[in-house]
């Protein structure tokens, strides 16, 4: 389905959404926000691309395979949770480092790395589903309903 309005709008909105998703991800460090919600926003940016331009351009824009994003994200989150074990602390303990950079005190913790993992995991999972729902490559929202609400008509065996 080709709509000029959606395409023009998508070109504007998608970069904003991606920027916003990273803002939300980093904000989750100390305030409401975080990896899950940020990931959803980023995924919706690519879903919008898919809706406007079709799945293939969206896949190209994503560069990485969503399945790979999923596995890398899961690995990052898991390793972050596992790391405290090596230091003799319980699983998933938060580890914090404080340092000053250019005069501002910065507090970095393992939760932010965990959140980055979750971010990638969510983007990967959502986009796997979104792209999966349109493997035909015809249109994102099929114009003629493939699901017949009246139920199937039996073909005689």
């Amino acid at each position: 389905m080709y709509t000029l309005i959606l395409r023009t709008a998508a070109k504007l909105i998608v970069p904003l959404l991606l920027l916003f998703s990273i803002f939300i991800l980093l904000r989750g460090h100390d305030e409401p926000g975080g990896g899950f919600i940020g990931g959803l926003i980023a995924a919706s940016a690519f879903a919008l691309l898919a809706a406007a331009f079709g799945t293939q351009p969206a896949r190209r824009a994503l560069i990485a395979n969503p399945l790979e994003l999923m596995s890398v994200g899961l690995a990052i989150a898991f390793v972050t949770g596992l790391f405290p074990l090596l230091l003799g602390q319980p699983l998933f303990s938060g580890l914090w480092v404080e340092f000053t950079l250019l005069g501002t005190a910065i507090k970095l913790g393992s939760p932010i790395i965990f959140d980055v993992g979750i971010f990638l995991l969510v983007v990967g999972t959502v986009l796997t589903v979104v792209f999966e729902l349109d493997t035909d490559g015809i249109s994102f929202f099929p114009s003629e309903a493939t699901v017949d609400a009246r139920g199937p008509t039996r073909t005689q065996p």
Partner: protein, 514 residues
Amino acid sequence: MSSHLFIILPIVIPFTVAVVTLLLRKAPQIQQWVNLTGMLALMAVSVNLLWLVHVDGIQATTFGGWAAPFGITFVADHLAAIMVLSGALMGLAISLYGMAEMDKERIAFGYYPFMNMLMAGVIGAYMTGDLFNLYVWFEVLLIASFVLMALGNTREQLTADIKYVAINLVSSLLFLGGVGLIYGITGSLNMAEISLLLAEVESPALITTIAMLFIISFGIKSAIFPLYFWLPASYHTPPPTIMALFAGLLTKVGVYALIRVFTLFFTYDVGYTHTLLLWIAGFTMVSGVLGAAIQTDFRRILSFHIVSQIGYMIMGLALFTPVALVGAIFYIVHNQLAKTNLFLISGLANRLEGTFTLKKLGGLYAVYPGLAVLFVISSFALAGFPPLTGFWGKLVLAIGALETQEYIILAVALLVGMMTMFSMAKIWMYGFMPGTESNRANATSDDHTLLGMGNGASGTPYVTSPVMMYIPIVLVALLIVAASVFFGPVYTITEQAALELLDPSLYIDAVLNP
């Protein structure tokens, strides 16, 4: 520190393997070896865990260093440790088997990551001491099982998966509702603390209502009487490796959860709840075994027998005496061994003859006497022939029933044992004894073109020799024999588990006063 690590390792190992195999998506053959290494490590760790629990008593640790009633607790008592060990055993046997059975396409599609995720979910559910966390682990194992069930995308699998997914989603949500209600009346999610706080709740009727929610939700997962219809409708569709994995682990988690909540929480109205469970147990046994009687497909017979065997475990829980609980716990382990092995054998028969239909199999005994011996060991164990494990399990349960003078359930249990024998004899008669010549001739001409591609599977595995498939079957059969011969020590350990269950203060102490 060290014991802390050992409690957590049984969950960490399969999860690590899942992540690593996911990253090795392009190298399926390396995945196989990573998986096997992981399963061996898991096995070692579980043996160690059981040993630790047996020597030092119940072990507990918390997540993220938050103290007991607030943080998520992981608890290993005898029951959990036994279940983890037998789960690890199943994982190892199925991994060995899968190397020769699982086809390349399914491995490329992510069989190993999801299998390990399933293992992590199952073990997490065994060991968690937090009610909401139990829900989370259930979802982990469910999503993995949903994917495994559909893996390969045959139409048969997809339609079976829809039934499986729908009913399990409903069951999970009912469980979550139960968790919410318990949280509402006690204000806690820590299972040990809930157990203490429920004692102070004024209205036992409210607790019993919540107990019903738990019976329904765990009942669907463990396939008890009026709630089991999804199981025989879906279990026979995936390839034998996945079938065996499900048969060995999934329903048993439901039974485990039932045992846990009905010994720790809902013990205030035993006259009502456990009597209800006893009725359910009887109906489950009978309906499962009757369902199996009319089936002629190897896998479908075994699927119905899963249901019938669940009844015995619920019976042990319902009688609620030390001896009966020993019977229930022992029966779970016995059933995991025997039932998984039968599924593995059905897969091997399918590999050798290209069909699961008994009448087409005919005469396996003449061609593969070794397979026939292995089948006899497992099926006799399942049916309860002395001196194999099923006999001991049924004997202990029968003693439990005699002690509490529940003669009806005793009669039902013994009758169902006989009918199980009938089903096993049917498999033997049609599948192993020489059939009519025409049958066998038809079978070979029709199905040998499909060699190794029974209804579910669609490709070839990496190891094509069926000899590899014998190894885990022989291993599990030897374990069955070993557990039968050394029933004494096994009984001692399961008795410890039962005594801990009947005295929740031990569990509560270990969690709240470490």
